[in-house]
Symmetry: C4
Subunit: 219 residues, 4 copies
């Protein structure tokens, strides 16, 4: 039952499922997602006094607002997906916790490229590079997310018994959209920063729309 | 039981209630509220050395203290309301999680207008604009909060069965006060920043008083 | 069972215990404590390049380390007390949630006076004022903590039935130490900043020692 | 059942196990770990405009990326270990809560030495000192972690009854690796900053590899 902490021990003990339920992984992951998403606001700095009117200063911050919304929604959707995957998990092992920590490392990094995008989106010389870095960071996060899911689906004893092969295959397919579209947005940044940002935004919207569309039809 | 993640799948599966209970939404939302409310203190910067005495420097920060208290109490009350609504919720679906994320995006934004208000409240040229932006942000948050409640009350299968129509109608009525009063405070900012701030403060106090009044009467 | 949100409603409904258990108040409070305590590190800024050697720069930051340790331990003890009180609570009402939010507002403020103390402790002209503000903030937090406990003990229906009058009286007595000693430290700051800081530190140590002393005796 | 809060009371009451289960300690500790790990990103500041191209500016931040990854993984592993120890704990007492708070104080401090390392790793005069401070902070954290475990294992009534002496001894042995290797990295910093950083990185990798190796072999 006890997982040992450092190399040199019996590997069967080390990587056997160490815990049923996902309570504390949930709590820690939720914490990191919640903090990363809330730190985004720290990159929006109030205008200086005197340089221009406050109203102009606030309007000139539009790249910050745009970057805030885009990153908030993206991290929010990433949390939703993480949330739903963890509901399929019956037990966690040491390897899962490591892969989860790796994923959180990419999630917690997002405030930095958000900051870079907001700072350079109005710089006509550098905005392509800023969008490249921004979409590239999302691509890396989406790739690691697929790795995270790959780890779980190749160890079916960690998943709830009621999860069918068809469901696993459907999830696997749906998750490939992330790296594909963000990868496309990264390449597109070399042509146009706006195109890149538009592709990132479109993915978020395409994710939200079906739920809302069904809502409307239902009334 | 499994919610799929991206468009192109059977919408009945996609938006069926995905989860009974609200445990992890609670945890994530509580995290965002707790972080947003605690980040408010970061906007209060210690006085510089030498310019003036420390006691004068600390006293001159009164707009920061005022903005801190007002935003803390407002986010705190928003949390209380969110908290009470979630206690009426039996199950959540994808659409709920999206609307909840939207609400959190407005809550997590509050430290920025708080910062702006604190920076410009002593600037006689710009304080009206700062109060307009501040009260406007609260108005937007209150509108989204009503949207959030509207989503829930128009899908009664998400609410606990014991919740009556009369209770839903009472909540709906009580929530309209928020956008109305903050909207009024936003318009009032065009006349006077102090009036706008006073209206925001009055709403918070009017919220707190009944509970305390009853406490006193009871003794 | 439903608490209404705004004034003008039946106050009996409004302030009746709204919830058995303290789960989500715990989570929100723990979040604020955990964030406030962790934000303390943000006030420690790395030395500049070139001005002096890094080792001198790091040593010169001793007021920041001292303020970090003192505030961390104080907030930590505050959390322990809050934690233990909530274990005695059977149900929460609206008034409790408001008083709890007020307490959290003072806890979340602590990083600011910590920052001020660290900045001015080596300024011989201003260090008394900095210590006065620091100990004064602790005094205010301790007073609000007593208010928080007063609210609970004057509504015994919120406490677990097994809690005896003798226990309530013992807690009430023990809590008076906080405002008394911090009040003394605030007054002492007018004479000497070091004395004030030493009194704050002594209270933390006096709190920790009995548990450890018993540990040693027991072996 | 009631733990009193200040000295002068019956020490048997004071340090008896105050609580079965570790729910709220878990939540608070998870919060601090999650926040400390997420604050790491705040030390990565976007390049300035104009000084150099954005791509060069982003590449020049490699010490920040390195320090981010190293600290993130280290705090993540520390969380995993903390997580696994708490699963062996049946009940907590006041002394445990104090030792846990002490541990969290060292964990929450890590963003500062991370910041120092990132700032000075390219400064050929100071990088040894920066690595010394960085590895030294990890050493201190690992020592306190051993203290934390020592507290638990010398009070077996706090551990679950199923935990055997052999398991306790195995954990004790495995935990000694931390202070040893980080201590070595601290001494190595006096010779070479790169060697010191490499030793810290090697410890993290050696921790992760067994779980992954077994994963590969298993397929």
């Amino acid at each position: 039952m006890l997982a040992v902490r450092f190399p040199g021990h019996d590997p069967r003990v080390e990587t056997a499922p160490v815990e049923s339920g996902t309570g504390r992984s949930d709590a820690f992951s939720d914490g990191v997602f919640a903090i990363a998403i809330t730190l985004l606001v720290l990159e929006i700095r109030p205008p200086e006094h005197g340089e221009q009117s406050l109203v102009d200063g606030l309007l000139d911050l539009w790249p910050s607002y745009l970057a805030y919304v885009l990153s908030f929604v993206t991290i929010g959707i990433m949390w939703l997906n993480h949330h739903e995957v963890l509901r399929l998990v019956r037990a966690v092992d040491r390897g899962f916790l490591l892969v989860n920590t790796l994923l959180l490392m990419f999630v917690a990094f997002i405030p930095f490229p958000t900051n870079v995008l907001a700072d350079f989106l109005t710089d006509s010389d550098e905005r392509k590079m800023a969008a490249f870095f921004y979409a590239g960071s999302f691509t890396a996060m989406a790739v690691v997310y697929n790795l995270f899911w790959h780890y779980l689906r190749s160890r079916r004893e960690l998943l709830e018994p009621h999860v069918t092969d068809a469901e696993v295959a459907a999830i696997t397919r749906s998750y490939l959209l992330g790296p594909t579209v963000y990868g496309l947005a990264t390449v597109a940044a070399l042509v146009s920063a706006w195109l890149s940002v538009a592709i990132c935004a479109a993915l978020s919207i395409s994710y939200a729309v079906p739920a809302l569309r069904w809502r409307l039809r239902r009334r």
